[in-house]
Every structure is written in C-alpha cells, then in structure tokens.
Symmetry: C2
Subunit: 297 residues, 2 copies
C-alpha cells in the first residue's frame, strides 16, 4: 500500500461520499422546482431516471474540487449538470439498439418502464437540463458550458460509446482500451472536477490540474470496473460477473490480463494522488481515490 | 393581402434567406475545424446529418435579429448552435421508435445510412455541439445557453415531440394542437430570434420582443405546414400530401378545418409583423414572414 494512504483516509472518503450524496439530493430538490420539465408524461419519466439513486460520484467530485470558497449556488448547478449528463448517458446506453439492458439499479430501465420513444426523449431532455443548469450558474457559466459540452460530446462520452460499440467482438490492444476508458468514463469525471474548480473560482492552471485529477480518477475507476467484472461476485456487483468479457467487449483484462489490469488501476490511482496533493485536497481527496480503488462493486 | 406587405418584400425576404444560407454554410466551415467531432465513424455521420442541406431558416432568423451591430463571431456561434439543435431533433425524430422515416431531404436518414445506435449518438453529439458553440460565444454565452436549453428541452422541443406522439390517433382540440406547435416548432424559432438579439447586444425587453417575433413566426410556419399537408402536391412538398392527416396526427386542419387553419396562419403572420415593426426589422423581416406564409413546400 502507498505510504500516503491509510484506513483513516478511507473512512474520511466514505463519509465525504455519503455527505455529498445527501447534499446532492438536496441540490436536486432545490433545482427542479425552478425548472419546467415539460408535459407530465415526460416530467415523470425524467424524474424516474434522475431520482433513481446511484452513488452520485460525479457530484461528490464537483463538491470536493469546489473547496471551501465555492459559490454554493454555482456548485449546486455544476453538480446537477454533470449528474444530468451521466443519467442521460445511462438512459440512452440501455436502449435496445445500444446495450439493450432491462434493469438499472434493480429497477426497469426507462424504455422498459415507459417506451423506447420516451427513453430517447428523456435522455434528450436531461442533456438540455444539464446545460440549463450550468448556463444558469452564478459563477463561471460559459466556461462550465464549454467544458461540459466537450467532455460529454463526440470527443468525449458520446465518442467513447461509439468506440465501445465498435470494439465489441474485437481484440483491442491496451491503447485502444485506454482510449475507450478516457472518452467514455474519464472525460466526464474530468469535467466534474473542472466544473467544481470553476464554481470555486479557480482559473487557468488550477482548473487544468483539477481536470487531470478527475481524468486519472476516472481511468482508475474504469480499470477497476474491468477487474471487478472478472473478480466480483453477483451479490455485491449487482450484475452478472464476466458479463463484459462474455459479451466480448474490449476490456482491460482481455487486453493485458488481470494482474496488469490491477497494476493499471494502481498506477492511475497514484497519478490521481499526485494531482490531489498538488491541489491540496487533503485526506478527503486521498480517501476518495482509495474508495474507488478498493471498491467491491 | 395585408397592406403592409407587397411583392417587393417577398423578393427581399427570398434574397435574405439565400444570402443567409450561404453565410451559414461558411459559418459551419469556419466552426467545424475548431472542434473535435470525435472518432471517425461518429464524425462522418455527424457531418452527414449536419451538411445535408436544408433551408437553414433558423440561422437566417439569428442573422436577422442580430442586426448590423452584431458581434460576427457570436452571431455565427448562435447560428451554429440553433441549427445543431434542429438537426439533432430531425435525426432522433426519424428513428424507428419515433416517426420511423427512411428518407430525409431525398437521402437515407442517419439510422438507415449508418445504424440506429449511430443515429442516437449522432443526435446526442449534435446537442452537445450546440452548447459547445453557444457556450463559447464571444458575447452573451450564458444567456444564450439558458435560452437554447429551455427552448430545446422538456418545456420546449422535446416536450413537443412527446405531445405529438401522444396525440397520434386522437382528436385534438385547437388549444392542444397549438401547444404542440408552440413547443415542438415555435420554441426553437423563438430561441433563434433571442440568440440573434443577444449576439446583437440586445438586453431585457428587446430580447423578449425578439423571442415573441420568433414564436409567432414559428406558429405561422407550423400552421402552414398543416395546411400544405392537405393542399400541397407531392412534387413541391417532397413528401406524400396528407401524410400527417393519414397518420392521424393531431393537425390544425383536423382540429378546425382547412379555412380556419389558413386563418390561424394569417393571424400568426400578422402577430409576427407587429413584432417585426416594433423591432424595426424593415422589409427583410416582413419579407421573411411573407415567404413562410406563402410557401408551397
């Protein structure tokens, strides 16, 4: 174990994640009444997707990078924005023409609970909602909008989904798997950190450092996902272990083997720690990294 | 014919539309190299959708409302943003689970030319691109982002699509049809005018007046669409006349009859003229209204 981390950090990280989750649910409750979600059939399905639980990791990253001096309203807007983008991506990824999943967090996916057309439109509405939130942020709105659009668009998350679909049934090499991880997952965690830093009034190099922290955290997160797909058990994982390998998705484990995949996760965690130290994120930052690295599901 | 309009206005409007179309194709050519569209498979399909022609009515409205004092870069950003939103909505509306169309402007729709998954992702990437453009605008970026997100989201365009799908096979009354028209079509034309005004440095009441102009223009446009669906011929219409009535879509003609539908279009045109006069848009504004009112397709 890295000498800079210990069980205390892990506990601090866990508490941060739980506090942030509660803070975020409150932020959503404050945000939603001020916006018009549209016709009842749409509004209900949007809420079904958005209020369906989840660990709210991205808002926790926003909150961490905002720091003590963050503008509270801008911080909430940024957290709502990144979680809306994440949620829309899950709704669209679950569609029959994409990953075709019937269950998400133990509940029917949006297209199962409502209809395919509704699921497409819920995703579209959530993406618009994300930009309504960050465009209305009381600090850094324009910079937040551009950062989120790039991370969530063709060069980021959406591009990653195309690469992931293209990679099915293929033997991907390490660089190709890393490119999928960077775009599909890490880009949005990078943007979460960036938006948090902007809400905190950061500029220039500190914003870029925040994004690097989020990116490294995202790469670690996704590497662990591929490891857990092989080593996790169904009960803690909430899905069938080996599902991705079985579907011939180009995973890190398929590309380089289990030990090298674990090493990749550890290296990315180490990178994230280095950025956390530069940013002065303290025990919470280190604890959050440990949590992601050691998670069982 | 309204005494405030004449053949000269019509010609001026036509020239404006054609000049604006050329200006907009240039704006796209200037914008696209500065952004990363993502992996080649996605970038190609995004360009297929975005560069597939069209009258570029929304950018023409942006340009008109920007006026002589508009910031050129902000005006281009606004035009790219509204057209990206419009284009993504067409790609998603054409999907099998939505309107299930195989052809768009005489070419295979995106899901036919590529795949359903690609079409979902192309739409998603185009929405992100819209916000990348307006978030990066050199003037009014934050206000543009919020206006576009509201007009394009659940309370606007996306909500209109849900209402339209719900209305299939039902007898809708006038108010319900108007609500579909307002949300599905007019909201984005309202935002086009609003973004143009913001790029022109307008504030407060003038921005609201611009939005009202665009909304009235959109209501007129959509009313004429329903009239042409019944009276147009296939050659000029580019689609089968009576298609919407045949599909039991809740059209204006089905709700109130052909004559009352024509009257509704004329009344909305009159509203638009009144806003155009308040805004001082001159013969170009009046000509653009005439063009939409008298179009044959």
């Amino acid at each position: 174990m890295d000498s800079s981390t210990n069980g205390g950090d892990l506990e601090v990280g866990g508490r941060w994640l739980e506090d942030s989750r509660r803070w975020f649910e409150g932020a959503l409750e404050r945000f939603l009444p001020h916006t018009d979600l549209g016709p009842p059939a749409l509004a209900e399905a949007v809420k079904y997707a958005l209020l369906g639980g989840g660990k709210r990791v991205r808002p926790a990253i926003v909150r961490l990078l905002g720091g003590a001096g963050a503008d509270p309203a801008a911080l909430e807007a940024a957290a709502v924005a990144v979680e809306c983008i994440h949620t829309y991506s899950l709704v669209h990824d679950d569609l029959p023409c994409m990953d075709d999943d019937d269950l998400r967090r133990g509940r029917p996916t949006v297209h199962k609970a409502y209809s395919e057309a509704t699921a497409v439109l819920v995703g579209d509405a959530l993406q618009a909602l994300a930009f309504e939130a960050c465009g209305g942020a009381s600090r850094g709105a324009a910079a937040m909008t551009v950062a989120l659009a790039r991370a969530g668009g063709g060069a980021g998350m959406v591009g990653g989904q195309i690469l992931d679909l293209e990679g099915e049934g293929q033997d991907l090499d390490l660089a190709s798997v890393q490119e999928v991880h960077r775009t599909k997952t890490a880009a949005l965690l990078g943007a979460s950190a960036e938006l948090g830093a902007l809400a905190g009034g950061a500029e220039g190099a500190r914003v870029a450092e925040a994004r690097q922290f989020g990116l490294a955290l995202g790469m670690c997160f996704q590497a662990m996902d591929d490891v857990l797909d092989v080593t996790g058990d169904a009960a803690t994982l909430g899905k069938t272990p080996g599902k991705d390998v079985g579907a011939h998705k180009g995973t890190l484990v398929a590309a380089v083997g289990l030990d090298a995949a674990r090493l990749e996760a550890a290296q990315r965690a180490s990178e994230a720690r280095s950025h956390a130290n530069t940013l002065g994120l303290g025990p919470v930052g280190l604890g959050l990294i440990e949590l992601l690295l050691r998670r069982k599901s």
